[in-house]
Symmetry: C2
Subunit: 446 residues, 2 copies
């Protein structure tokens, strides 16, 4: 009898697992349960859709249920798994008014994450802009009118949404209770991002906790109260982070880690449960520098982890090597990248570090279009090993973070980084790449 691989969740982690399993084992029955109507869509692209950079929200969908089905994956949309019985190896699946019990041999839990709005009155009335349909509703609401928008949360999603609102011609206020934007950066680097947002016309209100989202009788926002001030708000987006969706798995007896996400080993296996895997935003990842499990919700991790879960669920033996906290974003005129540990994270982890920040230009001085780039490096004081980097700058700045990610990953020391054979041509940098300049500045402190 054919084995049956069940996958809970039809986005990046789940469908990556389904796709690789399908290719590896033609005899396997692969069924994916998705409570929504879409599969494999890019939530990361929603701000750009809302901004109006493209017209058709369907372009956010990387692979539709029909395409997955054509590849031999039994995708069940609008089908929510409401219970897992790990001993009996069955699921209870709710579709419409009907509940059915279905069996599985292997299971991949890829239930993703959900918005974590601040616990204040009215916040629960704001629809999280996390799905294609929610993006469409938000865009349609903007088209219907209203001149003011408030974004709650100044992380990268908040910043991207604030920029999108500006693109749509709105007056935008972005509010965060933290003293800086982008908490994944150190405060000195975040200040450049704040500058970019403000130059783009976004009013940035920091150190100000939201007290209430005031809505009208239709549930539409009217204003946001924060720090005792009222901000008119025809549109509100909440970007205060998300939490892993784990209730179902937890009730079934799968273990959670300290991060609140599902615990997995380096093969994406749920410990103690043979043939049960978890991947993506609902699962933990091993942080190679902190040497502990964390929950960082990014599509890039979800895709890789799903692929590994699907490979191992079909007799493979591949390992997820962990993460180092690399991320990149485009915020108004600036690109922003970070990897490894920030100075603050290193301090919190009790690691003694040195750190240097340099300002340079993205091109040779005489080459048109040169603009500023700031690079901050963090190195272990005892060894000189590069532990992290942050980059803010104009076009061409951010993807340089991948060089630092590779250097962090491979335990490169800053004195070696300073002499690395990186490329040079006038359209791309001065003769010393900014990363080399930053490495030399950091090495001097050792």
């Amino acid at each position: 009898m054919a084995q049956r691989l069940a996958i809970i969740g039809g986005d990046a982690g789940g469908m990556s697992a389904a796709s690789i399993a399908r290719r590896r084992d033609p005899d396997l029955e692969v069924v994916a349960y998705e409570r929504g109507v879409h599969t494999s869509y890019s939530a990361c692209g929603i701000p750009y859709y809302v901004a109006g950079l493209f017209e058709d929200a369907a372009r956010l969908i990387n692979r539709s249920p029909a395409k997955h089905r054509a590849n031999g994956i039994d995708v069940r949309t609008e089908s929510e798994v409401v219970a897992i019985d790990l001993a009996a190896r069955t699921l209870v699946v709710r579709a419409g008014d009907e509940e059915r019990v279905e069996g599985f041999d292997q299971l991949v839990v890829a239930t993703g994450a959900e918005a974590a709005p601040p616990p204040v009155p009215g916040a629960e009335a704001i629809e999280p802009a996390r799905t294609v349909q929610a993006g469409e509703r938000l865009s349609a609401a903007i088209a219907r009118g209203g001149g003011c928008a408030v974004v709650i949360g100044a992380g990268y999603i908040g910043l991207e949404m604030a920029e999108a609102f500006v693109s749509r011609g709105l007056n935008v206020t972005m509010i965060d209770q933290a003293p800086q934007v982008m908490g994944t950066l150190d405060a000195d680097m975040a200040a450049h991002v704040q500058d970019a947002a403000e130059c783009h016309g976004i009013r940035v209100v920091l150190g100000s906790g939201v007290e209430e989202v005031v809505t009208n009788d239709d549930g539409a926002p009217v204003e946001v109260r924060a720090g005792g001030v009222c901000y008119a708000a025809d549109h509100v987006v909440i970007g205060t982070g998300a939490k892993p969706v784990v209730k179902l798995a937890e009730e079934a007896g799968l273990a959670l880690g300290d991060s609140g996400a599902l615990r997995v080993d380096d093969h994406q296996r749920c410990p103690g449960h043979d043939g049960v895997y978890a991947a993506g935003d609902c699962a933990e990842s091993h942080h190679r520098l902190l040497d502990r499990a964390v929950n960082i919700q990014l599509g890039t991790h979800a895709n890789k982890q799903g692929r590994i879960a699907g490979t191992n669920a079909t007799g493979g033996d591949v390992r997820f090597p962990g993460i180092i906290g690399t991320a990149v974003s485009k915020i108004c005129r600036h690109e922003v990248g970070r990897t490894g540990l920030s100075e603050r994270e290193a301090h919190e982890a009790g690691i003694d570090v040195v750190s240097a920040t340099i300002k340079d230009r993205t091109r040779a001085g005489y080459y048109p279009g040169a603009g500023p780039i700031w690079v901050k490096l963090v190195a272990e004081a005892a060894t000189g090993r590069l532990l992290g980097g942050q980059i803010v700058g104009v076009e061409g700045a951010a993807k340089r973070i991948d060089v630092l990610a590779t250097a962090v990953w491979t335990h490169l020391h800053v004195d070696e980084l300073a002499l690395l054979d990186l490329s040079y041509a006038p359209p791309f940098s001065a003769v010393y790449d900014p990363l080399l300049v930053a490495a030399r500045a950091t090495a001097k402190l050792l």
Copy 2:
């Protein structure tokens, strides 16, 4: 009595040595002899000046003799060193009609490289576009008129100059005897560069050796004959490479390596001659993958080597770690990067490799401005270790080569590269960065 550090050559290598030596030892007398009138200028920027991207050729000068003098370096321009006596530790310096003998305690030879035109009639009449003044003369000649330009040599300098001529409104033919453009790339990747050049309006003639550059009585070019065909040529640039300037040093008894450049150890010392250093285009560099000395003339190496020579000449102890052949260029609509060994170079070195090429996009499909990027990776068959990479693609493509350079440098294997924590956001790539996609494709071949 103060020690005296003499430096022969006032460009990247020489002035880097002078500057660091000056900072490290305030008591040292630092004198730099330059036969031209400028110091520390960017020859790499000349094509962009000729293209008209900026008006003032002086912007190519990174640091003038006056600025170096203000920093305490005794710069002697229009002063050519015509003989070195290593035993007596003296130089013969010619300035105007005068020759003087001057002493030194430490010596840095940074005589650079000079054009190596093909040995055909008329080629010697074409002034190499290697100095600020030559660039100015070429630009002025274009301004005076003439509709046709011929570029001899289809390497990166030939391509950059061809693009510059197109920017100035000329009909441009680029001729090379090789069967492909950019010999530092494998032929399959070079084909994309040729496409870009042709789409830009450059006529590319390959496999065609130049037979003669025909000039008029004033020495101005008229036509170029190649492969039996005559090409009208109001302007000619020769970009067939350069050879290290070593005659002076060789006559003094400094050893040359197999590459024809000056032999140095990893401290930039000329073996057997205490206190004598060489740096930059005239010197060899250790190639870390080939494990032998090569002569690759790039400003980035010259600056680093000069700095190391100047540090060691003042009691320091720093090592140049060698190179891996990283280079980048912008050619018409494409950016081009390469690092490590090409497939052809690996074969020539007797290394058994696997290689994969992928085509991807520089941004998420729905994000405006996405364009093609090709990535080719070369890995050692026996171990899976990444040995080299080549990238061609639209804006945002080329500097990714530095990620591969870091991976090659640190002996990363392609299967580990495929799961590396590289950054992702829709303005910069699909959810799998093209480098990860290429690494996975290569790992599959192992």
